[in-house]
Symmetry: C2
Subunit: 362 residues, 2 copies
């Protein structure tokens, strides 16, 4: 199954609603980079990655200039071999950063090909523990008024979600606490409520916040501080009294290992489009299982619904309202709090390429 072509494109997609969190400011566009790989048997694998508005050109340059030569003419089925070659070919300017996002897009395309070749949807191809996984709606809502936050939450519940995540890190902790208390009231005592700090706090601030949220039954506190401070995460978990989730800004299997070992987190949270692709994602899930931990996810729910459903230690799937949704046929199905993994071969995500082409960066 020789790789015959690689097409990579960089899109800049406007968001219908400006999003906000504690570290990215106001986000008006997403950068979206795709990798399409065809093999001699006529199959096409599709992979993609994204960022909140910067770095897309560098990711595209890595795929187009650095990875192309590794891929063309190679056997698409030897994904571990290709992963290793991509990693070391660009290691000096890579080892994380834009390179990991570039490899992620390629790796997703290669595993999509593998699934299609087998005629199996990913959730079965990767072991098929279940075909569904509990899902939560991830709001990106730090600057929303309390009324808008409440309205969004009610909308999520109407759409059959049974768990919600909200942003925290307002200028005053009392505002966060008021908003958390209000959502807990709406959700009742048992439906999970997660909070996401997006790295906005110092360790002492995060501990103070976690303690204030604890009485409102917060399920986890996500990215309470920068991902570079492992010991800080351990202190927050121990002294704050709320389980810690993190991972969207970790870029290697080793960083996950260190965050689990030194950071004592409860919910490793890889994003398959950001952690090195399916190849790394599945090792992180196994690493978590070895540590008696669940695995949860960030973003790209259309891909990760399969990956979580397939493994025995799945926690919640984040369903995230990124701007790419209108460009994907078959939106994810939510049923009584569960996301359903589709039965189309591979990951089953089909883009409206013509609609996307309006946002192509040349």
């Amino acid at each position: 199954m020789i790789i015959q072509s690689l097409q990579t494109d960089y899109y800049r997609i406007p968001l219908p609603v400006v999003l906000s969190d504690a570290s990215h400011g106001e986000v008006t566009h997403f950068d979206f980079v795709t990798a399409r790989i065809t093999t001699a048997d006529g199959l096409e694998g599709v992979g993609y990655t994204f960022t909140p508005g910067t770095g897309g050109a560098a990711i595209h340059a890595h795929i187009d200039r650095d990875l192309r030569g590794v891929l063309l003419g190679a056997d698409a089925g030897r994904i571990e071999q290709l992963w290793k070659r991509m990693w070391w070919h660009v290691h000096f300017a890579g080892r994380g950063g834009a390179l990991t996002l570039a490899i992620s897009a390629v790796d997703i395309a290669l595993w999509d090909l593998a699934g299609k070749r087998a005629g199996e949807p990913w959730w079965r191809f990767f072991g098929g523990c279940e075909n569904r996984v509990r899902a939560y709606a991830g709001g990106v809502d730090l600057q929303f008024t309390l009324d808008a936050l409440v309205a969004q939450t009610e909308g999520f519940l109407e759409r059959d979600f049974r768990a919600i995540k909200m942003k925290v890190g307002r200028p005053n902790l009392s505002e966060d606490v008021e908003r958390v208390a209000r959502l807990r009231q709406i959700l009742g005592p048992d439906q999970p409520l997660m909070v996401d700090g997006n790295m906005g706090w110092r360790v002492d601030e995060a501990i103070r916040a976690a303690r204030a949220f604890a009485e409102h039954g917060v399920y986890w506190i996500e990215e309470p501080t920068i991902p570079d401070d492992y010991e800080g995460h351990a202190r927050i978990a121990r002294e704050g009294g709320v389980p810690v989730a993190t991972g969207e800004n970790l870029r290697t299997l080793h960083e996950f290992e260190q965050m689990i070992r030194y950071g004592e987190i409860a919910f490793p949270e890889p994003d398959v489009a950001l952690c090195g692709g399916v190849t790394v994602w599945r090792k992180i899930a196994g690493l978590a299982e070895a540590h008696n931990l669940p695995v949860t996810t960030h973003g790209v729910h259309d891909l990760q619904v399969h990956l979580l459903a397939a493994v025995p230690n799945a926690s919640f799937l984040e369903v995230h309202m990124f701007g790419v949704e209108p460009y994907i046929r078959h939106p994810i199905e939510i049923d009584n709090g569960y996301a359903i993994a589709p039965d189309r071969p591979g990951h089953g995500v089909e883009f409206d390429w013509e609609m996307l082409s309006n946002h192509l960066v040349r």
Copy 2:
């Protein structure tokens, strides 16, 4: 001192001699990315970074597409403020990788401007502990025959070097040991001989190699394994019996902190063109001093001769025969084993831009 213009260029520079080490294979070109910043007072600051042949387009894209907007119109003197803004603007696709190399080039240009504005060479501008530093010649010679290795070493000694580094990681350890023994014989008992494994070994292999080299008085063993394995470095240092140096593949201040804390290394080895620029380099030097450690360097000796000379805990400067040497006026001066920091304002590196333009990638 408002930033008026930013020019960034990407060059692909052929090497006169093909270089080789244990992880990059044969290197025929260097990627070289420059950043030139001018301010309203008519001064120009020059910064640059490099890689062994891949990733240059992504680094260039980060500067050109992502960092430009942060820089133009900003106060060039507020380097900490700009550094923080560059870091967070691209954090999602950054936090290491090509972004760190991009920021490094910009940061070097900004500090060059600061030195020029003060009319001081960097070594004085940054504290002026000394104006010279002990230097070693860094050979990139893994595939050299023993005769070629000996000839190179004799050439280094004729050029007034009093310390040498060689590559190790040949297919058989006995070959490495033979080569190390031969160089030790040429250098006599006291002139330092460093060895560099370029991440080629597993931990057990590195321990075995270090033990075999120890009797030949090896000064340090560099990059014995992948930079992602902190505890592995600690084991190699403790069980191998040779001090460990590493840092050319670390991309954040935090990674250096972790490598010192968990990895127990003896020689932190930042490269100012790869670690985030002068701003980060000087914090790493201070971090090392706080831990009672020296700081040494990798690459770009024309810049780092100043940085090492300025601080009180300098170990050896690596003088490295990268391909960019012919394009720089005023080659570094070596005097009886010392490299001399020049007295030209800023870093004092002047390029032959016309000669470089032959290798511009468009």
